[in-house]
């Protein structure tokens, strides 16, 4: 690789490192006597300080309540990066487990294909609102929230399965073998039939909670689809190579082959998926805090600062400062992801 190609990568890693350090040490940076002498939720209501671009020690301006934007940016970085990192991690774990499981095939039952789409269309709204209803009651109890979402997911699957079984009872001739793979792809198509952001807006809107763990769980339970699909495709592709055949002829079992020999080959794919989920989570989180600014607790995030500029479109710094941070963060993540996808391409040329 030539020297010119590496400059964007170095720049983006530097930017990323800057934001990560900012997020990690957000507690040390803000507050009285620190680099930024304000906390993000501190209110200053005198007109000399309110809604001003850059004055004395408010380095990046203030909001209508006189809150310091620089402090908000620092804690917002913490909030965004935490949500992005942990939801990407959970998504990756779910994706790897389901991807491996779906690339193995266990024959379970026979189902009807004709009723599939009606089943999907009919069960989605129920699942959404039932989760909303269940979690609305238990919004303050984390265990119950998780249980509600998990049970809603179980119910999705069971509902679809019931519909399809009904079809085979009524008398469709066209049946397909119901493998574990099929059940996961059913779940994938089910969650795919409504856009992720729409479901997220409904869940979080009904919950009206800015609780960081709630957000992480919701985002990661909605975004494992792409990762699972990608890993399944990659594993199936690798299983066709001659090294996999050779390993099988030596007597290794397929699950062991996948875990021991195929997964290490997938690491660029895994990292790319991790980064893309990271980006998706950050964008979803800031969209949510933009839409529900003020309703999701007292958290100051990049999205909620941008949300303030809805009502004050003349005051450009409310938009420009957090948006620049958001765009820089996403851009640098994209650049790192592109580096790994180039690496994966080079690596793929040598696997046989």
């Amino acid at each position: 690789m030539s020297k010119r190609n590496k400059l964007p990568l170095i720049l983006s890693i530097t930017t990323l490192g800057f934001f990560v350090l900012m997020g990690l040490f957000s507690g040390l940076l803000t507050g009285r006597g620190h680099l930024i002498p304000y906390t993000p939720t501190e209110i200053h209501l005198n007109d000399a300080v309110r809604l001003k671009p850059f004055i004395s020690d408010h380095y990046l301006g203030t909001t209508i309540l006189g809150r310091d934007i620089a402090a908000g940016i620092v804690t917002g970085a913490n909030y965004s990066l935490t949500i992005g990192f942990f939801s990407a991690l959970i998504t990756l774990i779910i994706g790897i487990v389901l991807g491996i499981m779906s690339s193995l095939s266990w024959r379970v039952n026979y189902i009807n294909r004709r009723l599939f789409w009606p089943a999907v269309v009919l069960s989605i709204p129920y699942a959404v609102v039932s989760t909303g209803l269940n979690t609305g009651v238990y919004a303050d109890n984390l265990l119950d929230f998780t249980l509600a979402i998990l049970s809603a997911t179980c119910i999705f699957g069971i509902l679809i399965f019931l519909f399809l079984m009904l079809g085979s009872v009524i008398g469709g001739k066209k049946t397909i073998p119901f493998k574990f793979n099929t059940s996961i792809s059913l779940l994938i198509i089910l969650l795919d039939s409504a856009p992720k952001l729409l479901l997220l807006v409904i869940f979080i809107g009904l919950l009206a909670s800015g609780n960081i763990i709630t957000l992480i769980i919701t985002i990661s339970l909605l975004s494992w689809i792409g990762v699972t699909r990608m890993i399944r495709v990659e594993i199936e592709r690798q299983l066709k190579f001659s090294y996999a055949d050779a390993a099988v002829s030596y007597g290794i079992s397929v699950p062991r082959l996948i875990v021991k020999h195929i997964l290490p080959h997938l690491y660029p794919t895994l990292i790319i998926n991790f980064i893309y989920t990271f980006i998706g989570a950050i964008v979803s989180e800031s969209t949510l805090s933009f839409l529900f600014a003020g309703q999701m607790g007292d958290n100051v995030t990049w999205g909620s600062i941008i949300g303030l500029s809805k009502d004050y479109p003349d005051d450009w710094w409310l938009l420009v400062v957090p948006s620049t941070c958001l765009v820089l963060l996403i851009l640098s993540l994209f650049t790192v992801a592109k580096h790994f996808s180039d690496k994966a391409q080079i690596q793929n040329q040598y696997i046989k």
Binding site: W117, V120, V121, L122, I124, P125, Y126, V128, V129, S130, G132, L133, N134, G136, V137, A139, N141, L143, D144, L147, S151, C154, I155, D192, S193, A194, P195, K196, L197, L198, L199, V201, I202, G205, L206, A208, V283, S286, T287, F290, L291, Q295, G303, I306, S309, K310, P313, D314, W316, L319, S323, L326, V327, I330, L331, F334
Partner: protein
């Protein structure tokens, strides 16, 4: 916001906010719940950690009692005790007994009434499955749907189909129109990249598109409003000037008058799909260069430009249908931000307002429509690409 769609309504009916616990307002609330069908269990079965509590019975209690009983059940791990405490409170003639429902420690309440608790806590940790029967919310929703009814909106009291009628069309038209528009703009850009990829203009456009991909849509919307609407170049709110609305316009004039209102929303709808699609079509065109017919065409003396327009384009665009089918449902989620910000009467804005009112029937209907159109577009894409590419048909057979 709270999880109770009727809280405001009952407050208005029952007087001031503090009278929430009056018998009359509780009665009104129960009646409203019964009319809306919210007293029924949600689904055919319930999966609950409140192991000893039957969710079916729990759902029938008025909100404040239900919350208390739930809290106490968590504390005690025992539903029977919690229920007994509730009965004791209701039977007692303490003047402000309703305050006792807000006491978090059930032990204190028990002490108050000399009730002996049976400390039976292990049940807290066993999730239980309850069969609720056919008399549940989902079943009645399904039966109503079979008869073509979507229910009644809690917020406006109108049938959901009436509420939706005015809103679905705009979102659909913007979605379909936005998809077509972005393809129409992306194809020329992609061809320009393909033919003059190394020129300075192409590199500048490429960098610009790269930045456009990264900008989130809500930032873009406010940026557009700041740059074009605040100085007064373009209108940014609603669909038609309220002054113009009062004049007796013909249909054509009405459409012409609406057009300026749609410029900013359509930019917001299409900017990122233009960026993604033009790069995607460019790679598709490049992948066609490895095909044999490309070499044959060159050796027959066709220029690259001629080849691109006559042969490459029609072959390269075949996988585009699948991508467009995946992009189309995103119009529904994108519409939430765009319609709210530009104040357009569409489904996204309706969804957001009904979320803030906890208007479940409308939310259900919105998701149903979204799911329907997403599945329809996936199916359509499958069919169109089979129709357009005979090779797929022969593969299947």
């Amino acid at each position: 916001m709270n999880d109770d769609p009727f809280a405001n309504m009952v407050d208005e009916l029952g007087g001031s906010g503090s009278s929430n616990y009056n018998n009359s307002s509780t009665q009104i609330k129960e009646n409203l719940y019964r009319i809306a069908g919210l007293d029924k269990p949600v689904f055919y079965f319930t999966f609950s950690r409140l192991s000893a509590a039957k969710p079916r019975d729990l759902a029938k209690l008025p909100a404040n009692e239900r919350k208390a009983v739930e809290n106490w059940t968590y504390r005690l791990g025992n539903y029977r005790d919690a229920l007994a405490l509730k009965q004791l409170i209701l039977k007692s003639d303490i003047p402000d007994r309703q305050i006792l429902f807000e006491v978090i420690e059930p032990e204190l309440v028990a002490q108050n009434f000399n009730y002996k608790l049976s400390y039976f806590r292990y049940q807290n940790f066993i999730p239980n499955l309850y069969w609720n029967g056919l008399d549940n919310q989902y079943h009645s929703w399904l039966i109503n749907l079979k008869q073509g009814k979507l229910g009644t909106s809690f917020a406006s009291g109108l049938p959901v189909s009436t509420v939706l009628q005015g809103n679905v069309w705009l979102t659909l038209i913007m979605g379909i129109g936005g998809t077509i528009l972005s393809v129409l703009i992306a194809i020329p850009i992609a061809i320009f990249f393909f033919l003059h990829g190394n020129s300075i203009v192409a590199k500048i456009i490429d960098t610009l598109l790269q930045i456009l991909v990264v900008i989130p849509s809500f930032t873009m919307v406010i940026l557009l409003i700041m740059l074009f609407a605040v100085p007064g170049y373009l209108p940014s709110s609603g669909l038609l000037d309220p002054l113009a609305d009062s004049i007796n316009y013909s249909m054509f004039d009405r459409v012409v008058a609406t057009l300026p209102f749609l410029i900013l929303p359509s930019i917001a709808y299409t900017y990122d799909s233009i960026a993604v699609l033009s790069r995607f079509i460019n790679t598709l065109l490049h992948s066609q260069r490895e095909q044999k017919y490309y070499v044959v065409g060159l050796s027959k003396g066709l220029s690259i430009k001629e080849l691109t327009y006559t042969h490459l384009l029609s072959n390269a665009l075949l996988p585009l249908f699948a991508v467009l089918a995946r992009n189309f449902p995103l119009a529904f989620s994108g519409s939430i931000v765009i319609e709210t910000m530009f104040n357009l009467p569409g489904m996204g804005r309706l969804l957001l307002t009904s979320i803030s009112f906890n208007d479940y029937p409308v939310i259900m209907a919105c998701v149903l429509i979204t799911a329907f159109f997403s599945c329809f577009s996936y199916w359509l894409a499958n069919d169109i690409s089979e129709y357009a590419d005979p090779r797929l048909r022969s593969q299947k057979a």
